[in-house]
């Protein structure tokens, strides 16, 4: 195994590959040099971002003066080395190796003469439980085995197929595993061990029974696995899949954005299809430093944001007490009419740590102008006042609440508001509070994948948030709602009008954002809603984790 540290030496030397003189720095392997020089060598187990093991042997090359063939992924380049990466003989050998690998991988479709028409018309079947051929495999479009079969023009496999008959592993949350498809390349083990330091999985059992698994073959959720799904990202076959992203084909759009669920602010790429968040994957440049995101950002977003219960249309309480849907103009009118009946000291604003900087700023500005800076946050159950002069003493005079995180409000907190008359809810889901007779308006907001903006994270890093999906119904971003209400109330001191003016204000008053408490990595909620309520597998994950380990780490 080549140690990564060895590669640091930067003396340039030259060698010859396929008759072409190429330069390299010492410590690089033949495979690395070839790749840099645009020369393709087929591999299954090796990856540029993983340490090599030479286990699949597909990358064999001929080195002049060396008997037989060497694996290019583990052989260091040496000065004046003469390498041939391809010849009839090498190709024949590689075909033989691939045939052997495939004799234990359900290969029927790979060499089937009617594969093309079959797959064209069997698109739906990529969501089967047990995969017995490519037409059932959700990974078939990015499968490296298939690419190799085509590259090596393999038309027939001489061995009968030997099914390993491992049981399907799909009792874990989020992840389906079918080790009958596994070719034992070990990439998943290496990424888990070398790059993440977790070693949740390793090769277990022996001989023909060898497979990847956890120690004592426990469920992953009961072991060290954190469900970051990096193993899925590097798997060359369809053995590992994220259940929620089990679908055939490519996304319509891939949008890099920043996860807002905690203070880490991990970069991730949203897969959009049909204007919905269909999946999440890491930024394509998978350098080690960027692999930090957790199960929340990797697996929970689609179910969390595509839930049909999302608030879609503004609603107001009619005079007879019934809540009715209305359009935005009516709703804003209704809200501003109610607010204009109260003095600023009778109004309080509950902001949310999960909002973008723009939305937070807008609420802050609203509170400053119209609510005597009565603004507070929830940090789990604790109430935080960014305005240090305030405390929950203000609550007893408050008659109107403008809430951007309604679900955090417990009955106990509500009781502190002795003279409460009206509640305005601006949120993404209905909460238990929605049923309160004091609610006079419910305003649907967007989630972070449905809007543009910025968000400040730990260490004052401010990162972009990019729209990747369409909001449900008529929902609009929080800042837009707040700006609408603020302007309808007609105080000339309320100066923010649009996205740009908010951003300018943030530049001038950065402390307003800095005063917002951060969301810890361990948080289990989004905007006051437990993620587990909308993502059943996340509920399974945390319950099981608590049971087996007593705590949860992401």
């Amino acid at each position: 195994m080549v140690e990564l540290a060895e590669k640091k030496n930067l003396v340039m030397e030259t060698m010859t590959i396929n008759g072409k003189t190429v330069s390299f720095s010492s410590g690089e392997t033949i495979l690395e040099v070839a790749r840099k020089s645009g020369i393709y060598i087929p591999t299954l187990c090796a990856r540029a971002d993983l340490p090599s093991t030479g286990s699949c042997r597909l990358c064999i090359v001929k080195v002049e003066g060396v008997q037989g063939y060497v694996t290019s992924c583990t052989t260091p380049a040496t000065p004046n080395m003469v390498v041939t990466t391809n010849s009839d003989e090498i190709e024949k050998l590689r075909r033989g190796i691939l045939e052997l690998i495939l004799s234990e991988h359900p290969y029927a479709c790979l060499v089937c003469p009617i594969r093309e028409t079959c797959e064209q018309f069997n698109a739906p079947s990529s969501k089967t439980g047990r995969v017995t051929g490519c037409n059932m495999c959700p990974n078939r479009d990015i499968c490296e085995l298939r690419q190799l079969v085509e590259y090596l023009r393999l038309k027939e496999i001489r061995y009968p197929f030997l099914y390993k008959d491992f049981p399907l592993e799909r009792d874990d949350p989020f992840m389906d595993r079918d080790y009958n498809l596994c070719i034992l390349c070990g990439r998943c083990i290496r990424i888990c061990e070398e790059n993440l330091g977790l070693s949740a999985i390793s090769f277990i059992r022996r001989g023909h029974d060898t497979k990847v698994g956890t120690s004592f073959e426990k469920l992953h959720v009961d072991g060290n696995c954190v469900f970051c799904m990096h193993c899925v990202d590097v798997c060359p076959t369809g053995a590992l899949t994220v259940r929620g992203s089990k679908w055939y084909g490519y996304p319509d759009r891939e949008t890099p954005t920043t996860c807002i669920l905690c203070e880490q602010g991990c970069e991730l790429v949203i897969d959009t299809r049909w204007n919905k968040v269909m999946g999440v994957h890491p930024v394509r440049d998978m350098s080690i430093g960027k692999r930090e995101y957790c199960v929340k950002g990797r697996c929970c977003l689609p179910a969390l944001f595509n839930n049909p219960d999302r608030l879609k249309y503004p609603a107001i309480r009619r005079e007879d007490g019934k809540i009715i849907y209305t359009d935005w103009d009516n709703a804003i009118n209704h809200v501003s009419n109610i607010l204009s009946n109260y003095s600023p000291r009778e109004i309080a604003v509950l902001s949310s740590r999960h909002l973008t900087d723009e939305s937070i700023y807008a609420l802050n500005e609203f509170a400053r102008i119209y609510a005597e800076s009565n603004i507070f946050y929830f940090k789990d159950t604790e109430i935080i006042f960014p305005n240090i002069e305030k405390s929950d003493e203000i609550f007893k005079d408050i008659k109107v609440l403008y809430l951007a995180e309604a679900n955090s409000l417990t009955d106990e907190t509500i009781e502190k508001f002795g003279s409460l008359e009206n509640i305005i809810i601006q949120d993404i889901y209905p909460s238990s509070l929605s049923r309160s007779t004091k609610v006079c308006a419910i305003l649907p907001a967007t989630v972070f994948t449905e809007m543009n903006g910025t968000k400040s994270f730990a260490d004052n890093r401010r990162k972009p948030i990019t729209k990747a999906a369409e909001p449900p119904g008529n929902a609009i971003p929080d800042w837009q709602i707040t700006v609408k209400i603020g302007n309808a109330l007609n105080n000339p001191d309320f100066k923010i009008k649009d996205f740009r003016s908010i951003q300018n204000h943030i530049q001038m008053h950065p402390w307003t954002i800095a005063a917002v408490p951060m969301v810890p990595k361990e948080s289990l909620t989004y905007r006051g809603f437990p993620i587990a309520v909308f993502v059943p597998d996340f509920k399974v994950f945390i319950e099981r984790r608590l049971k087996s380990k007593g705590e949860i780490h992401f």
Binding site: N306, P308, K312, Y313, R318, I324, Y325, D327, G473, N474
Partner: protein, 484 residues
Amino acid sequence: MELTAKERMAIERHGMAEQPPDLRNRNFEEVPYGYTPEEAVAEAQRCLNCKKRQCISGCPVEVPIPEFIALVAEEKFAEAARLIKTKNVLPAICGRVCPQETQCEEVCVRGKKDVTKAVAIGNLERFVADYERENNLMEVPELPDKNGFKIAVIGSGPSGLTVAGDLIQLGYEATIYEAFHLGGGVLVYGIPEFRLPKKIVEKEIGALEDLGVKIYYNSVIGRLYKVDDLFNIMGFNAVYIGVGAGLPIFLNVPGMNLNGVFSANEYLTRSNLMKSYLFPKYRTPMVIGKKVAVLGGGNVAMDSARTALRLGAEKVTIVYRRAREQMPARAAEVHHAEEEKIEFRLLSSPVEIYGNEQGWATGMKCQRYELGEPDESGRQRPVPIENSFFEFDCDQVIVAIGGQANPLITATTPDMKVNKWGYIEVDDWGRTNKEFVYAGGDIVTGAATVISAMGAGRRAAKAIHEDLMKETDETLRPPDEEVE
């Protein structure tokens, strides 16, 4: 305080508060919100309680309309609901889906000049039924002793429910066979949630079950049992067939089998019965068209068009062969559709549906029509205008041009008389040519209304009662002897 006629005349009709069209077209909640108690009392006071009581004769099931309205005026809402139920077992449903403007309200004295000024009988009926249900005031009426006769009802649609409800109250054992996994027939698969919340149907069927009506779901008569089996094997004394119309008709133009072309039945069944508007919680998927064309001018076409809007269509166009005046849809439904900005292309009919390489519908070629001589139904016949074609884009086509008789039962009951279109032939009281076999609703008349099906059910129930009582010679004999 008793109002004078003059005072009553002075009260304006109370419209029901409704969701404004711009937003109701994106959600599946009911469009009208219902009366408040105050509105209901005020509306009830508009009734003049006239001698002639035309309204009752306008009602296919003869609900005692002036009496129940008088109870509403006295704020005796639950009593009013119970009074209606003596004649109509499904008031919350009828209050919503009956075409009152062509029935009771059309003949109301207050609406003589303008039917929209009539007493809002339907709204009041809906109000009292909702009031009774929402306040848990529903009572199980006392039933007479069982008379020993067993009746099989095929189909749990409006006519079947009426037959079962009526007969159980006369001492019969009533058993309903329903093909679907839920009861209600067209009430659950056809009429959309925003017009008739399914919770209400469930509640009203629950009330019937409380009365003792047995319902077997997932039971397709004609396949599981033949009609004769119901007598011979299952021991029923009479059978009522209320299976609805059934098979959808498609136009005979190229492109009808493209993806994205649906029968209204399929489209509505997916959305309503299988609740695909709540997908993915409910697993049945639905194609969401951007530009949707609906073919037809009936209530089903309006329902389909409005469902399409709520599912997220950008634009919905109704294509209808005749003119506005000939549309068979309820005026209120057409009005709602127009309010929701559904486009109407009248006097037009498709000659081809275009598709793309993947086999999905992409557009439509239509021909314009003009009105010619009246046909036998009295409506002016649409005549195609030569070389008057036009095209427009659409990625979904919903065909709502009616249906034909479902042969599942008639084909397996060869000795039952059907007319040339396959509908069952019956007398005025629902009797078929087969002894003790009765039929009513759409399988007799072709597509019609909920209330007319209920009326047919009511008449058939009377006939069944009369015929079976005649058999027993007015003394109750155990039914076992009858079967022999």
